[in-house]
Structure formats: structure tokens, C-alpha cells
């Protein structure tokens, strides 16, 4: 279980998160929604160890995470599909995937997981010797998700996996996420595509200006008139 308690984070003088508290339980898909600049990416960076919170605490499986270096957090079973994918552009698809299994915990099942990723995304098998910079946005997103899966995570964080992708591709990526979750992986999903995110997830948090402005089950939020007005627009459904 992931517990974020009262986390405050800042970039220099700019406070990006002021007292964010949330949890993600085993087996859940939790969506993190909110407008640009609400602090969603900042929170992901705090959980993955790339940014140190100024105050508050992050715990994972009953151990504090806030002083653990980023690479050691992967070893504890949390993998991330970062904002903008952040692939190793000059390296091949397979090298990118191999790097997902760099941590010791992922070494023994490396070959099996590679096969698994190629089964989920057959396109990647065909292109495994190509450098990732030459791939389309959708294929790059598949590599980014595949790379995170190679770590064999218990919790998968995704920062806007639908960004810049065609609607049909978004749908198939979300189908993949549902499958990943069914295999026992918890998911914390940052999304701008609120409708799709709420349809996929069990629970969601609304983040606004660095604070949690609302939370609840995905079904309840989908029916909440305020959420519908603020995020889905008057024409939604």
C-alpha cells in the first residue's frame, strides 16, 4: 500500500504541492485528475524519488520512501511511465526494455517478461532492433509502458500515457492497463482525459493548485455534477 501524507513540495520559491494526502491500496487503479499545473507530475516525481518533499511523508509497504534514492525505489517494486515517456532515444527498443529490468529484483525473470511485453505489444517485437527515436508517438508509449513492466512492479505509476495519442490508440492502451491491473499490479494514473480515466479506475483524487480538492469512487465522481461541469464540460455524456 502507498500512503502519501501531507506532502509539501516546491521548485525553489514555487510551492507545487501543499499538504497532499492520498493512498493507493493493493490491486487498485487510482486516478489523479486535475488541470495543468495542479501538481500531478510533481507528486509522481516525489513518489519516484526524483524530487524530495519539503514536508510530509511517503510510505510504501509500511516503510518510509522519502529518503530512498530513485533507483532503489524501483527495486522496491514501484515503476513509472514518466511524463513525455523519457525513452533512451538513441538506443533500440529492446535495449530500452532491458533497461527496465536493470534492478536486481527484475533480473531473474527478464527473459520471460520481455516475451510478455512482446505478447502485449507485438509491434515492438517487429521493431526491437530499431532505435526508439524513429518510432511513432504511440509506439514510443508502448516502449515506455513495456520498460516499466520489465521491472515487475507491484505499483505502476503512469503520467499522462494518453498525451498526444489518437483516440483509438488511447483506448487500446487503457485496455492494456486494465489487463495489467487484473494480473495484480496496482496503478496510479495521472490523466487529463478524465472520462477515460474515471471509466478505467476504481477511485480518483482531484488535485487543484497543489491540494486535494476532492476524492471518491470513480463511479461517484463520474456522476458528480461539479466534476462533470469542471472536467467533462456541459456536453459530456
Amino acid at each position: 500500500m502507498l500512503e502519501v501524507r501531507g506532502v509539501e513540495a516546491a521548485y525553489g520559491p514555487f510551492l507545487a504541492l501543499s499538504g497532499v494526502t492520498l493512498t493507493a491500496r493493493p490491486g487498485e487503479i487510482v486516478a489523479l485528475l486535475g488541470p495543468n499545473g495542479a501538481g500531478k507530475t510533481t507528486l509522481i516525481r516525489c513518489i519516484t524519488g526524483l524530487l524530495r518533499p519539503r514536508a510530509g511523508g511517503i510510505r510504501w509497504e509500511d516503510a518510509p520512501l522519502d529518503r530512498v534514492p530513485a533507483h532503489a525505489i524501483v527495486e522496491r517494486g514501484i515503476a513509472v511511465v514518466p511524463e513525455g515517456r523519457r525513452l533512451f532515444g538513441a538506443m533500440t527498443v529492446e535495449e530500452n526494455l532491458e533497461l527496465g529490468a536493470f534492478v536486481p529484483r527484475a533480473r531473474p525473470q527478464r527473459a520471460a517478461r520481455l516475451e510478455h511485453v512482446y505478447t502485449i505489444f507485438p509491434m515492438l517485437r517487429e521493431r526491437r532492433r530499431q532505435i526508439t527515436r524513429a518510432l511513432s508517438g504511440g509506439q514510443q508509449q508502448m516502449v515506455a509502458i513495456g520498460r516499466a513492466l520489465m521491472a515487475g512492479p507491484k505499483l505502476l505509476l503512469l503520467d499522462e500515457p494518453s498525451l498526444g495519442l489518437a483516440p483509438r490508440l488511447v483506448e487500446s492502451i487503457f485496455d492494456v492497463l486494465r489487463e495489467i491491473n487484473r494480473s495484480g499490479v496496482s496503478i496510479l494514473l495521472v490523466e487529463q482525459n478524465v472520462q477515460a480515466a474515471l471509466t478505467l479506475s476504481h477511485r480518483a483524487y482531484l488535485l487543484e493548485a497543489g491540494r486535494v480538492a476532492g476524492e471518491g469512487s470513480a463511479a461517484a465522481l463520474l456522476d458528480d455534477p461539479r466534476v462533470r461541469r469542471a472536467y467533462l464540460g456541459p456536453l459530456a455524456r
Binding site: 526524483l50 534514492p69 524501483v74 514518466p82 535495449e95 533497461l99
Partner: protein, 313 residues
């Protein structure tokens, strides 16, 4: 080139070079090849930390110089030369880890600036403290065998190429390249960047220290500050870029090309060759970022395409 083919080619080249002193009796040929082999070692060593791990070291001469200084002192004092060289490498690695541990925690230009500063500080300090020329004792000069130096240079160059080749195909090498591409993304994927950068630096400066020791073993007399000169850094950098940065073969091709051209140009135009290498460097970075290795690959592909179309006709 596939791994097995390039390994076979490498072994054949090393074997051919090993027979040279038996066949060729000319010292100038051996001296020239010595210089090429020393350059291969130095460039490959720079290539590990800069080409693979992406950490630009602008003070590589410091580690070459420390290796030379330590080896020369211990060897002249009576230590066996190989032991003295290992000690020189250890001193180089010690200094490297000190500066790496400080600079690698900060990203960006700190490592480049730190190593540049270290190189200059050591050069000036050694120039002041050990200002007199260092000359071998008469007895050592009397027993001087160029072939010994040559074989040591060959062994060291072969070792440097082998280290880089092993690294290139390994998990650690993969992690280093990921750091070069995007350090933060590498960390987030589980690559411990600080440890890997320090490992790359230690491997790199160990080889540079050994190369410095070879320099100290080779030269009959030189100013102790000379191996600390930034020229050694920029030779390594230029050779690696000309040949192909972050590749196994690049520094080898680059060293042959560079030393040959440098000797030729230096004879004809003295210091004018520096200007030519400057222009060549700019041209390669802009037009052929993969260096000679990329040029060879492109030519090979072109030739294959030509042959294929000719066959189809």
C-alpha cells in the same frame, strides 16, 4: 560488424602487431606504432567515461600525468616497472574518485569544469615542485630496449579495447549509455547513476594511469609536468570524436588516422596542424557525429546497395 567477426579481426591485428619487432628493425617504425598504441589506450580510456557514460572529462591529462609521475618515481627508486604502473593507476583512480564523488552529485558542467581545474592545478603544481627534467640513470639507458616498451604498449592497448568491448555488451555498459541519454530517466528506471558513473570513471582513469606509467617507462627524459599538459586530454578527445565516440572501434581508427596525420603535418607545418585538427573536429561534430566508424558503415551500406543493384541488372 558482428561480435565474433570483430573479435577475430582484433586478435589478428594484435597478432600481426606482435610480429612487427621481429621483422622490422627500424626504430622509427616502432616509435610511431608505440605512439599509435599509446593513443589508442588513452582515447579508449577517455571513451569509457565520456563516450559511454556521457560524462565529459576535460582533465584526462591529470590522470595520465599522475600515472606517469608515480610510476617514474617508484621505478627509478628500484620498484619493478609493472608494480610501479599499477601503483600509478591506483593514484590516478584515487584522485578521480575524490573529484567524481564531489562533482557527480551535481549534474551538468560541474564534472567537466572540475576535471579541467584538477588538470591545470596539477600541471602547475608539478611544474613548480618538480621543475627539473627527469632523466633515466645511465645504467637504465644502457639497458634500454625499445621492443619491451612496444610490447607493453601493445598489451595495454589490447587490454583497453577489450575492456571497452566487454563493457559495450554488458549490463553495466547498457546502464552507462542510459545515463548518457537521460540521467534522470535512467535513475527512474532503476539505474544507480552515481555508482555507475564512478565505476566508469575508475575504469577510465585506471587505464589512463597505466598509459601514463607507460609514458614514464618509455621516455628517457622529459619534464615531469609534460604529461599533465592539456594536449593529452584533447588528443584523447579528438581521436575519440574522429573515430566515433561511444564505439569500440572508433578510438582505434581515430588513433591511427590522428597520429599519422599529426606526425605528417607536424613535420611539414610545425604547429599549424593544431588549426587543421580544430577545423577537422568542428567538421566531424557537425557533419559526421558518428566519426570514421559511421563513415565506414555508410560506405559499406552504399557499396552493398551498389553491388545488389548491379547483380539485379
Amino acid at each position: 560488424m558482428t561480435g565474433r567477426r570483430s573479435r577475430a579481426l582484433g586478435l589478428a591485428t594484435a597478432a600481426a602487431l606482435a610480429t612487427v619487432p621481429l621483422v622490422v628493425r627500424r626504430d622509427d617504425v616502432l616509435n610511431f606504432l608505440f605512439l599509435v598504441l599509446l593513443s589508442v589506450t588513452l582515447a579508449e580510456s577517455w571513451n569509457i567515461v565520456a563516450g559511454y557514460a556521457g560524462q565529459v572529462n576535460l582533465g584526462h591529462a591529470a590522470f595520465f600525468g599522475l600515472g606517469a609521475l608515480t610510476t617514474r618515481a617508484l621505478w627509478i627508486a628500484g620498484a619493478p616497472v609493472l608494480g610501479a604502473m599499477v601503483a600509478g593507476a591506483a593514484v590516478a583512480v584515487g584522485f578521480a574518485l575524490l573529484i567524481g564523488a564531489a562533482a557527480f552529485r551535481l549534474r551538468g558542467a560541474y564534472f567537466a569544469i572540475g576535471t579541467l581545474a584538477l588538470g591545470e592545478i596539477l600541471r602547475i603544481t608539478v611544474g613548480n615542485v618538480r621543475a627539473e627534467i627527469s632523466t633515466l640513470p645511465a645504467a637504465t639507458i644502457a639497458g634500454y630496449r625499445l621492443a619491451h616498451r612496444y610490447y607493453l604498449a601493445l598489451a595495454l592497448a589490447a587490454a583497453a579495447v577489450a575492456v571497452v568491448a566487454a563493457l559495450g555488451g554488458s549490463r553495466l555498459g547498457l546502464g552507462m549509455r542510459a545515463i548518457r541519454e537521460d540521467e534522470e530517466a535512467a535513475e527512474a528506471s532503476g539505474v544507480g547513476a552515481l555508482r555507475l558513473k564512478l565505476l566508469a570513471l575508475a575504469l577510465s582513469t585506471a587505464l589512463a594511469g597505466l598509459a601514463g606509467g607507460l609514458f614514464a617507462y618509455y621516455h628517457i627524459s622529459y619534464y615531469p609536468a609534460h604529461p599533465f599538459s592539456p594536449t593529452w586530454t584533447f588528443d584523447a578527445l579528438l581521436i575519440t570524436f574522429i573515430g566515433g565516440v561511444g564505439t569500440v572501434h572508433g578510438p582505434v581508427l581515430g588513433a591511427v588516422f590522428y597520429v599519422f596525420l599529426k606526425e605528417y603535418l607536424a613535420i611539414r607545418w610545425v604547429d599549424f596542424h593544431l588549426l587543421i585538427f580544430g577545423l577537422l573536429f568542428v567538421a566531424i561534430v557537425l557533419l559526421l557525429p558518428g566519426g570514421l566508424v559511421e563513415a565506414a558503415a555508410r560506405l559499406g551500406a552504399l557499396a552493398r546497395a551498389r553491388v545488389l543493384t548491379a547483380i539485379r541488372k
